[in-house]
């Protein structure tokens, strides 16, 4: 544990971004309060398909993202042991057209430092007998399955253990501003029904696809394009590895096993309001159709749930489907951007890179507060998720 600092940081948003940041800042010895309008991970972060990326999905078009994923993949497996099914993933070619993606995939992964192993059809079917028997070739990569909520709860648990005040059911209804400086937030406490204020030396907006709305409370601008995708969970587990389609990112290109479920993802479109997510039935049908090209038995598997989650894409609304926008993240220091002091936004990114995102944002926060403490999150083993609840009682 590092020196305690008096500087108080208020984080708005209890998802992967806020959880990672609360943990990082608490480890650096800062006073941290985090508020979330609902339960933690109730926005985008809890709803993803449960893939811990190897980086292979990005390595072809965006080597930097691939490098970032494999690095964070290895770090998370080390600091959050027990939270992943480390069964690897397969990219499978199920038609001749898919084969065109084979060499770019292998080269991209090799260039990004992602270990790959080529498998012929017989070898792949021996590993995963339910795969489409027509498959041509497969590539094995170190993908893993993650329980999204429980991974993030481990960050919250450890942050709490290190003194952070994590407040779910506490909704920010306004940001306090004096002379162009953000000094805290007005909050509504959904547990007591009371309204109050939380003062801080710095406020960090970590609200994911809601970042634009939170920034607007400070008169700041964060261009977000919330991009929902439909996911489909089917009863029964038909594979043990993550099964990816060997072509460029598209609808229904992945099957992720989760306990006794198979999750097929995903589609992509754009909306203005991340609270207004629908589940179009034709998207559900597309998940069945595309998923069963990878594993034919999924066609007859009973539906357990279909849902939507909004990716927090950074950029303006010119995008048509969201796939044009980068999956990387950005930190906005609103002092530099538009002269608003005391207010930083971190948004974008994906669950696999939550620790790395938090590290870079915490660097910005510490620099602004004049604190010189190194990041330690790459080596600190996280408490188990259950400690999130017991630490709440201890606090």
């Amino acid at each position: 544990m590092s020196t305690r600092h008096d500087a108080h940081v208020l984080i708005v948003g209890g998802g992967a971004t806020g959880g990672g940041l609360a943990h990082d800042l608490a480890l650096r010895g800062l006073r941290v309060t985090l508020v979330e309008r609902g339960e933690v991970t109730s926005g985008t972060s809890g709803r993803h398909h449960g893939l811990l990326h190897s980086g292979a999905r990005y390595a072809v078009g965006d080597r930097e993202a691939g490098v970032e994923c494999i690095r964070e993949n290895m770090i998370l497996k080390r600091i959050a042991p027990g939270t992943f099914e480390c069964n690897d993933g397969l990219f499978v070619a199920v038609c001749d057209e898919d084969l065109e993606y084979l060499e770019p995939l292998v080269e991209g992964c090799t260039g990004a430092g992602i270990p790959v192993q080529r498998l012929n059809a017989a070898e792949a079917l021996r590993l995963e007998p339910n795969l489409n028997p027509e498959l041509k070739v497969a590539v094995r990569v170190p993908d893993a399955t993650v329980d999204p909520m429980r991974l993030i709860l481990r960050f919250f648990a450890t942050a709490r253990h290190n003194g952070a005040d994590i407040r779910p059911y506490m909704e920010v209804v306004g940001l306090l501003k004096h002379d162009g400086v953000v000094t805290g937030a007005a909050v509504h406490d959904h547990v007591t029904g009371k309204t109050g204020e939380i003062h801080a030396d710095l406020v960090v907006n970590a609200a994911g696809p809601w970042s634009e709305k939170v920034a607007a409370m400070a008169g700041a601008q964060v261009p977000m394009t919330p991009s929902p995708g439909v996911l489909l969970a089917l009863r029964g587990r038909y594979c043990n590895m993550v099964i990816n389609r060997m072509h460029k990112s598209g609808d229904g290109d992945i099957v992720v096993p989760q306990r006794g479920l198979s999750v097929i993802g995903t589609t992509s479109w754009v909306v203005e309001d991340p609270d207004d997510l629908s589940v179009p039935e034709d998207h559900v049908e597309r998940m069945y159709a595309e998923g069963s090209k990878l594993i034919p038995a999924l066609r007859d598997a009973p539906r357990r749930a279909a849902w939507s989650a909004a990716r927090p894409l950074v950029g303006s609304a010119a995008a048509a489907t969201g796939r044009e926008l980068s999956r990387t993240f950005q930190t906005f220091d609103h002092a530099e951007k538009e002269g608003i002091e005391g207010f930083v936004t971190i948004t974008g990114g994906k669950a696999t890179t939550l620790r790395g995102m938090a590290e870079l944002c915490a660097d910005v926060v510490c620099r602004k507060l004049g604190i010189d403490e190194p990041c330690r999150t790459h080596e600190a083993v996280l408490l188990p998720h259950t400690a999130y609840y017991s630490e709440a009682v201890a606090a």
Binding site: E39, A144, A233, C239, R259, D273, S278, E281
Partner: protein, 286 residues
């Protein structure tokens, strides 16, 4: 209905008839706010609307102060447990079509209510056998593929229930059809720690001391796949009046379980072990 008030959980409806509305009676409680009560909301529903969709619709269009827990929206995280018309359900997979024109929603029983539909889950986790610390870890080996290492605790380690275990089939399981293990695959535990079994348990309703079905089922899992824990310790923890002998075999826990973790059967397996098993004749039994 305004254009953005489409039936939750379905597509925005344009021209098709959508006049199916259900009345939700929702339990409300805010600390220091004049006690508990039910409030009623009429919610438009479609063929795939779930109880959770409806509650989130109420939050968005009628009352933003309604507090509830949810995360994954597909019965994997276990946070949205509640009582729907008196039965334990995960709201995210509870279809309104299986209920009538009026639907009553209450928090889980046998756990303290924090606010509205939110219960304090520490009351659930506190029942687990903390004296059997286990954490099973997986780590990347040198070639970047995955091997397993065991992590010695440098801090207090708590029973980490859903951590990955070797692929395994319980004879009473019927809905898992994973591929045969050609290599040493691991998988997360079935139990999603939702608390439905505890809420449904008639014995837990009358006894604060009873450790309850989830904790006992977790203990039985340790006998099947010990992860370094001594069998005798697990059995000793279960073998007490507030442990395995308190169960009245109402089977409500197994009925309520949304993840097929079969807690009642596991409690009976523990009893069988305590009655017929034991360290002396272990060799012949397992």
């Amino acid at each position: 209905m305004s254009p953005d008030e489409h039936p939750p959980g379905g597509p925005a409806v344009t021209s098709t008839a959508q006049d199916d509305t259900r009345r939700f009676r929702v339990y409300r409680y805010k600390r220091g706010d004049g006690g508990e009560r039910f409030e009623e909301f009429d919610v438009p529903v479609g063929p795939h609307t779930t109880v959770l969709d409806a509650l989130r619709w109420i939050q968005r269009h009628r009352d933003p102060t309604l507090a509830l827990r949810h995360s994954c929206l597909h019965a994997s995280c276990g946070t949205c447990g509640m009582q729907v018309d008196g039965r334990e359900e995960l709201a995210c997979v509870c279809s309104v079509q299986e209920h009538g024109s009026e639907i009553t929603v209450e928090p889980l029983a046998n756990l303290p209510v924090l606010t509205d539909l939110v219960v304090e889950m520490n009351g659930f986790f506190a029942r687990f056998p903390h004296e059997h610390p286990i954490i099973r870890s997986s780590a990347a080996t040198e070639d970047g593929h995955n091997g397993e290492v065991h992590l010695e605790g440098e801090h207090e380690v708590i029973l980490d229930l859903p951590s990955p275990v070797p692929l395994y089939h319980h004879p009473l399981h019927h809905n898992h059809r994973a591929a045969p293990a050609a290599v040493d695959f691991v998988r997360l535990e079935d139990c999603i720690e939702c608390g439905l079994c505890l809420s449904a348990c008639p014995v837990a309703a009358t006894s604060q001391e009873y450790v309850g079905p989830a904790a006992l089922a977790a203990a039985e899992r340790l006998l099947e796949e010990p992860r370094g824990v001594r069998r005798e310790d697990v059995l000793a923890w279960a073998d007490r009046p507030e442990g395995v002998w308190r169960c009245h075999v109402g089977l409500e826990c197994t009925r309520a379980c949304p993840a097929d973790a079969i807690p009642a059967e596991r409690i009976m397996a523990l009893r069988r072990e305590l009655t017929f098993g034991g360290p002396d004749d272990e060799e012949g039994k397992r």
